[in-house]
């Protein structure tokens, strides 16, 4: 029974990883929009690079998601 409780606490703590990835993505997109505003000609390239960055930032939350099912 105690082990189950510890597992549940661990699963709950994994939710914290969402905070980090959310913060990172918000910062990244905000900076990208700033850059696009400064230099609209480069918007296309900045957008694709932003998408790659967002996917990379999101992966930390997804590592936690994979862990969620392993615990």
């Amino acid at each position: 029974m105690e082990q189950e409780a510890a597992q549940m606490i661990g699963k709950g703590l994994l939710g914290l990883s969402m905070m980090g990835s959310g913060l990172g993505e918000g910062y990244l997109i905000g900076k990208a929009l700033e850059a696009m505003g400064r230099n609209p000609d480069m918007a296309g390239t900045i957008f694709t690079r932003m998408l790659i960055g967002v996917a990379l930032a999101e992966s930390t939350a997804l590592y936690a998601f994979a862990l969620f099912f392993l615990i």
Binding site: L51, A55, L56, E58, S59, L62, F65, A66, F69
Partner: protein, 292 residues
């Protein structure tokens, strides 16, 4: 009440993280993911033969689609490598990985395919939602990049990237401080071996977790309310599938750029620069001679 929940919700089991075994061939278990891998290879073969045989100078709509796709992939690789010769060398690999992942990630979104089952297991499961597939892909990509590095630098120089003994000897010959710095560099170089393994893990888990999370969220949404809401997630899944294929192939291209000699552009430009400098020196000499 029960009637409404039956109509409004589609209950399905959440699949585990382990691969689902379809059937066994001579004692070797065949998982759904490996079945799908061969299915996609067959699909590519058929499409390739069709394109090859119906290739015309005045393109049909079907051909234009693939020409556009080729152009988009080429631009993607060019953007990373910044060198046409380099991108031509690596394009077959990056393009294959991209196309394969694109099809593999979004093929199960075709309505109805997920409901075809054998022995209670769905045949058409997303192959990249199985960790074995993504681990295999990432491992293959990193091994090929290491082989390219060996071809480019030679086996000793390639090993020298990780075990930096030569700079230590050279540094200590130069001065004590340089030697100490080179010694620190050597330990950092050993850490690069861990970095190479981390590449494999991060590449494979990123793709796997994205696809697995997509599948599970879809099942949860269908269980909660089977109308309108899953449609939005369908669109999101299409987007995420294409994006992850792009991220995987772009990262492999970036690792390729790290593995090869960075001096390719310099070696091209340096003779010209020398010519320019010698020419300018010549002209200054001439002008000085004229002035004299």
């Amino acid at each position: 009440m029960n009637f409404f929940t039956d109509i409004l919700q589609v209950q399905r089991e959440i699949p585990g993280i382990e691969p689902q075994i379809l059937f066994e061939v001579f004692g070797i278990p065949v998982a759904t993911s490996s079945f799908m891998i061969f299915f996609i290879i067959l699909l590519f073969l058929v499409v390739g033969i069709i394109i090859r045989t119906t290739f015309t100078v005045y393109p049909t709509k079907f051909q234009v689609l693939f020409e556009e796709l080729y152009g988009a992939m080429k631009d993607l690789v060019d953007e990373v490598t910044n060198d046409i010769r380099r991108s031509e060398a690596i394009f077959p690999m990056i393009g294959t990985i991209f196309l394969y992942l694109l099809v593999a990630n979004i093929i199960t979104l075709v309505p109805g395919l997920a409901d075809i089952t054998v022995n209670g297991n769905a045949i058409f499961a997303t192959p990249t939602a199985d960790f074995n597939t993504t681990l295999g892909l990432a491992l293959g990509a990193v091994i090929i990049i290491n082989i390219i590095s060996v071809k480019e630098w030679g086996i000793l120089a390639h090993l020298g990237k990780f075990i930096k003994i030569k700079p230590v000897v050279l540094g200590f010959k130069k001065s004590m401080g340089d030697g100490a710095m080179a010694l620190v560099d050597m330990f950092v170089g050993v850490l690069d071996i861990v970095g190479e393994i981390a590449k494999i893990i991060s590449l494979s888990i990123r793709l796997f977790a994205n696809m697995y999370a997509g599948n599970i969220l879809m099942i949860i949404l269908m269980g909660a309310f089977a109308y309108v809401v899953p449609a939005i997630w369908y669109g999101m899944s299409l987007f995420v599938g294409a994006l992850q294929a792009m991220v995987f192939s772009t990262l492999v291209a970036a690792y390729y750029m790290l593995a090869i000699k960075p001096s390719s552009e310099e070696s091209e430009t340096s003779p010209e620069e020398k010519k320019i400098t010698t020419a300018s020196v010549g002209t200054t000499d001439a002008s000085v001679a004229e002035a004299a």
